[in-house]
Amino acid sequence: MAKVLMKGNEAIAEAAIQAGCKAYFCYPITPQSEVAEYLAKRMPEVDGVFVQGESEVAVGNMIFGAASTGKKVFTTSSSPGISLMQESISYIAGAQLPAVFVNIMRGGPGLGGILPAQSDYFQSVKGGGHGDYRLLVLAPSTIQEAVDLMMLAFRLADKYRNPVMLIGDGMIGQMMEAVEFPDNYEEPETSSGDWATTGASGREPRIIKSLFLDPKELEDNSWELHDKYEMMKKDECRNEAYNVSAKNKILITSYGTMARICQTAIDELKDEGISVGLFRPVTLFPFPEKALQKEINKKNIKAVLTVEMSTGQMYEDIELANKGSKPHEFFGRTGGIVPAPEEVKEKVKEMIKKYSVSSGKNKKNNRGK
């Protein structure tokens, strides 16, 4: 298919259609309402289902009911709306159903603002709802990658019978870029024949539930979930590295749009004769810990810099991988303020100065101005 210029939100919507998703439930919230506007027109063209619900609480539960049919379903929202969906996400994870959620993040906490942020990392990765469960979390840094990861999200949701969360900051939703959809995309067969509640005809009734009053059964279910998450850790870690070189002293870690801004900073630093590398997790859960450790442990790397559009959330997972082995600093802006490449460059130069001479102390500082 030829490249088309599309807004991120619309590209995400079209990617779901291309992935064979025929059901979308939504509640309007900035900055992702274009997904709903696009699908209100597009879903009827493919005989799909489009429902605008009365709240994100209801929408999450419509997804729960719809996923029980065994068909591909998804919803999109933004930070405060995703908070309201946490009830259903916990139930869907507990009941082991596939579903795709998209969070086009805005600044928080509370009503926050409507501008881009990455402050829902903890909510997505560490479990926003109650109980022992995890989401598969995908973080695109370009509109093309948002398309590719959306299509992957449906496959992974079905493969693991687990909710998948795709998180993009507001820029991923609002920015326009040229994207390409795959030709002749083949929908993999779903596993739903084994579990969907399609009517107890010629078989025993199926019960889709997360209630296990017998503690042993509940424990078994929790360990079963745990085993799935371990499988994800083994098989689904995805990451990208940029400008890896033996000349690098500083390793930047960043994800989503922020990683692209870091790439610009890296390119500009190169022009000044300074070489810096970037490690970008694409899956935030499972977290590509081993690949990251490999980069951190390289002898030439003197220190690690994590850059986020938050006050420091992924920083903690980077540090869990780093285990204090190299000094690790943080730079972030939030509330809808997006760090400029200049700010990243300034921070990198400061760190090069600090860590080139001798090894410094492991110290987290630094908010933006």
């Binding site: 059901a23 429902v51 539960n61 419509m62 009911g65 996923a67 019960i207």
Partner: protein, 255 residues
């Protein structure tokens, strides 16, 4: 002898043989059976999916012999909406108590009814939270003693009982809404008819349907089963009159 025996009463196919966990005198068992009979008679069991609530009837999926989903508290109509939109060929019903439907789930029930989702809601109203131990519900009568209204419900502070069927009947969207009771055989038969009518509308793809069934809770009312039936008749039925509030042919069918 054997040649002359004839089965005149048996367990509906849509009921399992499991012994229910309900308290002695509780009317959930009767209402479950009426739902099962309706599914049998309309031949819906093999294409039905029920949505269980949170509350005493959370384990309904152990007793009614069809596919089931277990919803979060109050959200059964949202699950039913999601399911029915993707499988309009299947019969989708929820079974919810008054805590589930009339308190935490008010938003979901109103909007599901207003969108005219072609699902069936069995709303069991016994004016109290049973599962959690007899707390005040939105449907608790003024003066009724519960664990959270130990001096009797004070309507000046907690409002008047919420009349869900009356409220939903004000919506312009066509629907079937009836309130019945199961405190004596005559009313049990009437309830069966209402439930069957509700499922029939769904089978015909016509409209949203809700049957509110006045029910007892001897344990948390602190009454014997027969006293409970009497209390229902003399108190609950006064506040919640039995009535067909709405039929789809009252207006135009929703499309």
């Amino acid at each position: 002898m054997a040649m002359n025996t004839e089965t005149i009463f048996s367990r509906p196919k849509s009921m399992t043989e499991k012994v229910t966990h309900y308290c002695p005198g509780c009317t959930h068992g009767i209402i479950h059976r009426l739902v099962a009979e309706a599914l049998d008679e309309l031949e819906l069991r093999e294409k039905a999916v029920g949505v269980a609530p949170v509350g005493c009837s959370v384990l309904i999926y152990n007793y009614i012999n069809c596919d089931f989903l277990e919803a979060p508290h109050g959200r059964a109509p949202a699950l039913a909406t999601g399911f029915k939109r993707l499988r309009p060929d299947m019969t989708v019903f929820t079974y919810q108590g008054d805590g589930d439907l009339a308190s935490i789930g008010t938003s979901e029930i109103i909007h599901t009814a207003n969108r005219g989702e072609k699902v069936t809601i069995i709303f069991v109203n016994n004016a109290i939270y049973g599962m959690t131990g007899g707390q005040m519900a939105p449907t608790t009568l003024p003066g009724q003693i519960t664990t959270t209204s130990p001096a009797g419900r004070d309507a000046s502070k907690t409002g008047q009982p919420l009349k869900i069927s009356e409220m939903l009947a004000t919506l312009a969207t066509p629907s079937f809404i009836q309130r019945t009771s199961v405190h004596d055989p005559q009313h049990i038969i009437q309830t069966k008819k209402a439930i069957k009518e509700a499922f029939t509308y769904q089978k015909e793809g016509r409209c949203f349907s809700l049957v509110e069934v006045l029910s007892t809770c001897p344990t948390n009312w602190g009454l014997t089963p027969s006293e409970s039936n009497k209390w229902l008749k003399e108190n609950l039925m006064n506040f919640f009159p039995l009535k067909v509030f709405k039929r789809p042919n009252d207006g135009e069918d929703s499309k």
